[in-house]
Symmetry: C2
Subunit: 352 residues, 2 copies
């Protein structure tokens, strides 16, 4: 299993529906009104999407607080990761454990890939990153990182960025889970004064707006890098429905606030509950998923037990460095979160 | 202008709506019922698309008459062109004039690109293609070719394929406009007995099913090549709505027949009418667009005149070899085709 959210495989294997804790999607579902907007505009499928995505970029620029010329869009965040690697990286320096595509896409494009281990507490080892950094290289960092859940601390980010600029290299911050994170810093604001020189800040509609099916990623970067990426992009890669959704969702302030509040509250609930369970270690998180170390079991046993109880969790052995004693669970709404906790307790009673 | 269909630019420039003869889309619009299917399934946006697109590949295999394992899917045909170049081509050998992305994607992936000119009558110069062909190379041929409109003749295709197999090279036939072409041969049938060894036959939902906004391309190839392409593909590149549409459209026999009949009839009408106009040369075509040489004008003058009369045509100087005396027009329904002919006649009266 390279990725979470593969419901269809498990429907076939276990023959039923699941509560999906394996992919980290906003439990509120898609914003209200989106369904009608799409229905009313379906005739636009008879046209190509705007090859320059002008209106969409304007909407995103307003949402992010940057200029249109700084915005790059993609068919999911993963396409922008791919485009950035193609357009920029001499070699790719990334971390492990992390989203597997950082390294894979580097390999697909025949780049040298260096993977730097996280520290034991899953904070970034900036010194190790810098040690490998040369002119033209691309560092890719999850911020917050998947599956470990933590953001790069502001002082480390500042230090790292200075090195990147000094060496004329590039830093791609994958902030696909940004909206779920605490508001102590916002990279878009942080790097505004440097006009996003040598940095690409990547975000996604997928997770926060509850629509992984729509495939819409976007990034804020310098005008220069945006031009380089646009030059090598496939034409029309964001389809018309994603374009329509993108033109709608960012105005939906009510949904945005509700989602942020929900995740903040449920994160606290989940962490409190998980910490009561003696045979697991739940790692602190800045986002809407939690990495859990299994002190008295393994991912296979837990996965199967939870699947038999209607819940899909993410096994983590496909992430390098983690071995077979870790799982990742999403944070959902109270009703489902309670069910997850119940199944942990059930496992303790019946199996341990 | 690298591509047709850029309505938004021209809406801005000319301040009005156009009948778009610059992109080659089925004039019937999207199949009946698609709108309701999408509306009823919009909640599926809250899930990732099937990362393996199992149901979709099954539907396409039935439509094409091949096995599931032979099917590759993409975010538009252009993504499959890109994937094929990445996965296979030592160097890329293509033709000119042709769809610009064949060469561009080769360049983006740092491949050597060789462009072979069409013969004067826009038939393929197979000898010139073969002269450059070495082991591992990828030949890309539009079939029918865009913007010239002709298919590769069966005897040439046979000869070329034998050379490709002999040299262990690859042949990508871009058949995005296949359904509009005469039914004298079907490449999927033709290469079935050789199990699609060394060949990729590419098609698209975009044009024939009237939905360029949906971005859905698919190809039939050997199991071996399909695996190579799937290995380097971006995950989830076809979004959920395209997946839903793809699961629906291929069963729609009535729409398919109606569309084929319409284009056959209108192609005859258009060719008859265009041949009456003395100051242009309309080239024979196997598909739903016509290349027109302007014997007494140039693309700019014609483009502007037609735009002022509410019609968008495709200037062709962005296609290599064609210069500024060619335009391309789509074949639409009778009402619109008549309007196009009227504007030609109006130009003759007012300008020539």
């Amino acid at each position: 299993m390279r990725h979470g959210g593969d419901l269809i495989t498990y429907r076939d294997l276990y023959g039923g529906e699941f509560i999906d804790f394996s992919s980290n999607i906003n439990p509120l579902g898609v914003p209200n009104g989106l369904k009608d907007i799409i229905y009313n505009k379906i005739d636009e499928l008879t046209f190509y999407p705007d090859i320059k995505y002008r209106k969409l970029k304007k909407k995103i620029a307003v949402y992010l607080g940057c200029k249109d010329e700084n915005v790059v869009v993609g068919n999911g965040a993963v396409e922008i990761i791919d485009d950035t690697i193609m357009a920029l990286g001499k070699k790719v320096i990334t971390t492990t454990p992390a989203f597997s595509e950082y390294s894979l896409r580097g390999q697909v494009h025949n780049k040298r890939v260096i993977e730097v281990k996280y520290n034991k507490d899953f904070t970034v080892n900036t010194n190790a990153l810098i040690k490998h950094l040369e002119e033209g290289d691309l560092i890719i960092l999850g911020n917050p990182n998947n599956p470990t859940g933590l953001r790069v601390e502001p002082n480390k980010l500042d230090m790292l960025y200075k090195e990147v600029v000094k060496k004329d290299a590039y830093l791609l911050l994958d902030e696909a889970f940004f909206e779920f994170a605490p508001k102590d810093y916002d990279s878009i604001n942080l790097f505004k004064k440097s006009k996003y020189k040598n940095i690409i800040i990547l975000r996604a509609a997928t997770k926060f707006f509850g629509m992984p099916g729509i495939r819409l990623g976007y990034a804020c970067t310098s005008k220069d890098i945006a031009e380089k990426i646009n030059k090598i992009k496939l034409p029309w890669s964001i389809n018309t429905i994603a374009e329509i959704a993108g033109n709608y969702i960012f105005d939906n302030k009510d949904y945005i606030e509700k989602s942020i509040d929900l995740i903040f509250e449920e994160r606290k609930f989940m962490m409190d509950e998980l910490k009561k369970i003696s045979w697991i270690k739940a790692y602190n998180t800045d986002t809407n998923y939690i990495l859990i170390q299994l002190l008295k079991s393994n991912e296979k046993e837990i996965f199967n037990f939870f699947a038999r109880n209607g819940i899909l969790v993410r096994k983590c052995s496909s992430f390098k460095e983690l071995g077979n004693r870790y799982i990742r669970v999403a944070i959902k709404d109270r009703k489902n979160n309670k069910k997850l906790i119940e199944v942990f307790n059930k496992f303790e009673k019946e199996i341990l």
